[in-house]
């Protein structure tokens, strides 16, 4: 408070001076303030608060708010909970019946379809039989993988009915190189138009059911992992024999996460200095390239190889032991996980997007050869989601125990056949049926389903994340990614319904990539984090001294107004 009174109060001083000096006990309160002064004070305080509320607060709000792009939260949650899309897998099977009249063939198909529908308890995965017009039998390519067109559904399997006189019961032959099933039947078993059932249609239905049994179980497994509203897949799974469910589970745990490109790294490791070279180019060309080409609709592969000498075991791992009874050096099964010396062996992942699958050809030292796994004499094993190992016990030269300095293509054959098998397993290919194209097609459907579900659940997680963390920014790129994901998800879902699985896989792949991109957007995670306490502590020297007089002034003014208001109400 100023020590020098002036202005309005100055006139009071002169008359109060003398009595105050004469006696300390006599005190007179100042006269009541003029209404003009009170009004001025009210206006001043109101002005200050107006500046704070209408200027300071909006500026603070504007400068400290974070940009949050609008996301279709409800739609994302619906995708995650499976309300938007229920994936269905209508498999189209073409029938070629060169030796039957069309009407008979149609009747046979109808009855078979009936039997199939009765057998099938999993409506999401069903088989649709279609009669191939006899005119375009010849033009149809037997290889289902190649016959992918924009408009038509993919043909999963072509069945060719062939009459054979000397048969008592129908039998079927699945071509292992194509997607064709030949059914030989005795002509007597063709169903007459009046009957609703026949041994031939029952046989065909059963055969088809068996062919797609594992696929159905796998898809049911994939769908049941999604915590959707649909309980049917879980029911299907429960009805399966436990060992099949276990196999599917195991395969899924082993297989790599789906990617557009995989890098295959083949490494020759040996603890000594030999062998130091291998016929790798020829071996890959002969044993692996055909398989990789068959995979090309699903994923691409790059291949690189290396030779690493003096690759010792890690000192931590238990060393192989000599087993007299087997006359071999043995590795215990539980120690296989420590076989790879990750610290010293140069197994760095390849550069570029996509995971690396490592295949290791290990040639044991002559002093430790032959080397096998103790429990089952195996020489190869899979490391889940990482790669495979093959122990190549090279033939030792007799005069002096040493490894050959060069591995020929022939000596690599068993190793590369094992690697191909391991690759199939790591990619998650089902074990049945025997036809590789059919298995790869099944893989397309499984991958499409799992990508669809994983992208949907990523959307759900993103929606939950943005709801639970209101302080993170959401850049516009995330919103774009989300809308791309959602549109591709719905197109994938439609394509699945129409039976165009390769196209569905492509859409689901885009959806998954975009979903991951939006979820892992870097700018959503603040690089610099200033907790609110920190800011308050820094600005307290400003906020405290300014805030306290302002608040007290406002309180006093309010009190006065309320008091005046009360007195006015009570007085009249």
């Amino acid at each position: 408070m100023s020590s020098k009174p002036e202005g309005l109060e100055s006139s009071n001083i002169s008359c109060n001076d003398a009595p105050a000096m004469s006696s300390e006990t006599v005190q007179r309160p100042p006269p009541p303030e003029k209404p003009a002064a009170i009004l001025t004070r009210t206006k001043v305080i109101a002005a200050f608060w107006a500046v704070i509320i209408f200027l300071g607060f909006p500026i603070w709000w504007q400068t400290t708010s974070i940009h949050r792009a609008r996301l279709p939260i409800q739609e994302m949650v619906n995708w995650a909970s499976g309300k938007t899309c229920r994936p269905v897998f209508p498999l189209e099977i073409q029938f070629a019946t060169p030796s039957l009249p069309v009407s008979d063939a149609q009747h046979l198909l109808r009855t078979t379809q009936h039997t199939l529908d009765d057998l099938n308890e999993f409506s999401a995965h069903h088989l649709r039989l279609k009669l191939l017009e006899s005119s375009n039998i010849e033009s149809n390519s037997p290889d289902g993988l190649r016959s992918i067109t924009e408009d038509n559904a993919d043909t999963v399997l072509s069945v060719r009915l062939i009459a054979q006189e000397d048969l008592t019961a129908p039998r079927s032959v699945l071509h292992s190189e194509t997607t064709q099933l030949d059914v030989f039947y005795p002509p007597s078993q063709v169903p007459v138009p009046s009957s609703s059932n026949s041994p031939l249609s029952a046989f065909i239905a059963e055969e088809l059911q068996r062919l797609f049994g594992e696929e159905k179980a796998t898809i049911a497994h994939v769908l049941s992992n999604n915590n959707g509203a649909d309980h049917q897949p879980a029911a299907v799974l429960n009805s399966l024999p436990p060992q099949i469910a276990e196999t599917i589970n195991k395969r899924e745990r082993r297989s790599m996460k789906y990617a557009e490109t995989y890098h295959l790294a083949f490494s020759l490791f040996t603890p000594g200095s030999a062998p130091s070279s291998w016929d790798i180019e020829a071996a890959i060309q002969e044993y692996l390239t055909p398989l990789l080409q068959a995979f090309s609709p699903i994923s691409n592969f790059t291949v690189d190889t290396q030779v690493q000498l003096y690759a010792m075991f890690s000192p931590m791992t238990p060393q192989p032991e000599y087993d007299e009874s087997q006359a071999a050096w043995t590795l215990k099964k539980e120690d296989l996980s420590a076989f790879i010396n990750a610290a010293e062996w140069p197994l760095s992942p390849s550069i570029g997007s996509g995971p690396t699958i490592n295949f290791i050809l290990y040639v044991p030292a002559p002093s430790q050869s032959p080397m096998v796994v103790k429990e089952n004499h195996a020489t190869s094993w899979i490391i889940p989601q990482w790669g495979g190992v093959f122990l190549l016990n090279a033939p030792l030269s007799t005069s002096q125990p040493s490894n050959p300095s060069h591995l020929s293509k022939e000596s690599l054959q068993s190793a590369f056949l094992t690697f191909s098998h391991q690759l199939l397993t790591l990619m998650g290919t089902p074990a049945t049926p025997t036809s590789l194209p059919l298995r790869l097609q099944t893989l397309i459907r499984i991958r499409a389903a799992s990508l669809l579900l994983s992208a949907s659940s990523t959307m759900g997680s993103l929606a939950r994340l943005t709801k639970s963390l209101p302080s993170i920014p959401i850049p516009a790129s995330v919103a774009t990614s989300v809308s791309t994901t959602l549109s591709h998800l719905s197109s994938a879902c439609d394509q699945l319904r129409e039976g165009r699985f390769a196209a569905a896989l492509a859409s689901a792949r885009v959806a998954e990539t975009e979903a991951e991109r939006s979820f892992f957007e870097k700018s959503m995670v603040g690089q610099v984090y200033f907790p609110d306490e920190h800011k308050v502590a820094v600005y307290l020297p400003l906020l405290g001294p300014i805030g306290v007089p302002l608040a007290v002034g406002l309180l006093k003014e309010l009190k006065r107004i309320i008091a005046g208001w009360k007195s006015r109400r009570s007085s009249p």
């Binding site: 109060e9 105050a20 100042p30 070279s277 010293e344």
Partner: protein
């Protein structure tokens, strides 16, 4: 007979030094040992392997390391040179540098590469990819080589001759003078070798000894090579050069503290008048110190890397021929005609150790005359300005020396090129100011852009015979932003060493490289608690001003008496009154009893 032997040995030397072998993929390694004055030992390791261009592009790696090959392909790098260096080469006592300086870098990390790209921008993007990947591979902070530390030298470096003519190559050069090279860089370096430090000369590497050296330099060079006939190759050459202090290296690892020589082993000059039990004038030791590989490197050489083809002589020693050298009996020794070099053909599987016993020295291996001596320092005082002084000394009495001087300066050091001045000091010691154009034949200067790129200065200089040229220029130190200072800002900022390239004279084919030491530039450094102080001080001032103005506006002014009267009505006033009354009562009571 001697002539024939001489001719043959010369031929084998030529064959060994030729870098274009016949086999599509092969591997060579070689260790050269040379005792240097002041009980030092230069050990120079060289590993070289080739792979055919075709298998390199198809990613079938045999001797070429896969990790590095992938990086090079990913970054479209056609030629790569990477250097890790610590310490200082003492040119005064050790003479010219090994490999003519072409396999060493400036202190810290130096990297230059030719990248195939359409334009500069894409080349730079690839360069960033390259540095990031190499940073991961070699556990070095090469990811800090950003645009401010990257230059594009014009005349200082030449690409290999055998690049495919179709590629448009961009040379980029980056340095990290502050990088501390240590064992974590050696381990990945060893992993690139086919024999992994388990066999052959690489089995001598021990991080403790290597980084305890007075000077050491590791290099990785990848370049394409197209022989006259046959397919093109990709060659990787790795070298490690180090100068070990023999006394220091011989100390056992568990007891590395130097101890004084016991009294009875001191060689004293007894002729001095003050010689007594406790006073000693030490005599100069005329004996050369004895050493062996196992003592100096802490381990013995583990046979031969079995991949080595051709010449089995992998270890060579340069001492005068009359010097006694003890080697294991199964090792064959070949002496070369120059009278100084002897090479050893090692037994493939038995460990090898060579020892030189302590002996009287009559002759030394003559060191070649240095062709140029260069020195660079920062002069001046104060926080704002400074100057650079570079001294070139041409020791030759007859011929002038011509060379290229290349330096990169960080952007916060702003040189004034117009202040570039040259002074010549002849043998007479008289300093003469000369116009710099007389010394500087050509200049390539690319000025810095703040926070974008550094200064690049390339000068073609000529120093007359038997004279010293001093170049000076002034610079200004920039003030950095608060967040641009490193945690150890008061240490100073590293300025990368300058690279000097002596153009090949008629009889030499490869240029000689010399690097100056790196410099420390002290910059004006703020007090880093300053922002908080500023915030708090301004807040306080604003709060004071605001409080006064606000109170002036809203308070009512009354006289002191009125204030007292007002006070009496408030709670505080009443409380105060009661306390006063209480006090008076107590006072009154006490006064009554008195």
């Amino acid at each position: 007979m001697t002539v024939l032997f001489f001719f043959l040995s010369l031929l084998s030397l030529v064959c060994a030094s030729l870098s274009s072998p016949s086999a599509p993929s092969d591997y060579h390694e070689r260790l050269d040992l040379q005792p240097l004055p002041q009980s030092s030992l230069l050990a120079s390791f060289n590993f070289r392997s080739n792979t055919s261009q075709e298998s390199f592009e198809q990613r079938h790696f045999r001797y070429f390391p896969r990790a590095l090959g992938q990086i090079l392909q990913h970054a479209h790098t056609k030629e790569l040179h990477l250097r890790f260096t610590t310490g200082r080469w003492d040119a005064e006592s050790w003479g010219p540098r090994p490999w003519n300086g072409s396999k060493e870098g400036g202190t810290g990390v130096e990297l230059w590469a030719w990248i195939d790209a359409v334009d500069d921008e894409r080349a730079f993007a690839k360069w960033i990819t390259l540095t990031q990947s190499l940073s991961g591979l070699f556990c070095a902070s090469m990811n800090f080589v950003d645009s401010t530390r990257t230059t594009r030298p014009v005349v200082s470096f030449d690409p290999a001759e055998d690049h495919s003519p179709a590629s448009s190559l961009h040379l980029l050069h980056g340095t990290l003078p502050g990088e501390v090279v240590c064992t974590e860089n050696l381990t990945p370096f060893l992993k690139l070798l086919p024999c992994k430090g388990k066999a052959g000369i690489s089995s001598l590497f021990d991080g403790h000894k290597l980084f305890d050296a007075s000077w050491q330099s590791m290099s990785v060079d990848v370049r394409p090579i197209c022989p006259e006939q046959g397919e093109c190759l990709v060659q990787i050459e790795q070298t490690v050069d180090m100068v070990l202090d023999i006394d220091r290296s011989k100390r056992p690892r568990d007891n590395p503290i130097p101890r004084p020589v016991p009294n009875d082993q001191l060689a004293c000059d007894a002729s001095k008048p003050y010689h007594s039990d406790d006073t000693c004038y030490p005599l100069e030791n005329t004996l050369e110190k004895g050493w062996s590989l196992a003592e100096v490197f802490g381990r013995s050489l583990n046979g031969v890397c079995p991949l080595t083809e051709g010449n089995p002589e992998t270890v060579c020693l340069r001492v005068p021929n009359e010097r006694r050298v003890d080697i294991p009996p199964e090792v064959t020794e070949t002496r070369q005609a120059d009278g100084y070099t002897r090479c050893f053909a090692l037994h493939p599987s038995t460990p090898f150790d060579l020892s030189i016993p302590e002996q009287e020295v009559h002759s030394q291996v003559p060191l070649k005359e240095r062709s140029l001596h260069a020195e660079r320092t920062i002069v001046g005082h104060g926080q704002e300005r400074g100057g650079m002084r570079i001294i070139f000394n041409n020791p030759s009495e007859t011929s002038p020396v011509e060379f290229i001087y290349f330096e990169t300066l960080p952007w916060f050091l702003r040189p004034f090129v117009h202040t570039l001045q040259a002074t010549i000091t002849g043998h007479d010691g008289v300093r003469r100011q000369v116009p710099s154009s007389q010394i500087v034949k050509e200049t390539f200067y690319r000025p810095a852009i703040d926070r974008k790129r550094g200064t690049q200065l390339e000068l073609t200089l000529s120093v007359p015979a038997a004279s010293t040229v001093t170049l000076t220029y002034d610079f200004e130190k920039a003030i950095l932003r608060y967040t641009e200072y490193p945690p150890d800002a008061n240490r100073g900022f590293n300025v990368a060493p300058a690279v000097i390239r002596l153009n090949p004279q008629d009889n030499e084919s490869s240029p000689i490289y010399i690097r100056t030491t790196s410099l420390l530039l002290p910059l004006p450094t703020p007090d880093f608690s300053m922002p908080y102080n500023v915030i708090i001080l301004t807040s306080t001032v604003i709060a004071l001003a605001f409080g006064n103005i606000f109170n002036l506006l809203v308070r009512r002014f009354v006289s002191k008496e009125e204030a007292a009267a007002l006070m009496a009505q408030t709670l505080k006033g009443r409380l105060l009154g009661k306390i006063v009354a209480l006090r008076d009562r107590i006072r009154g009571k006490t006064s009554k009893t008195e």
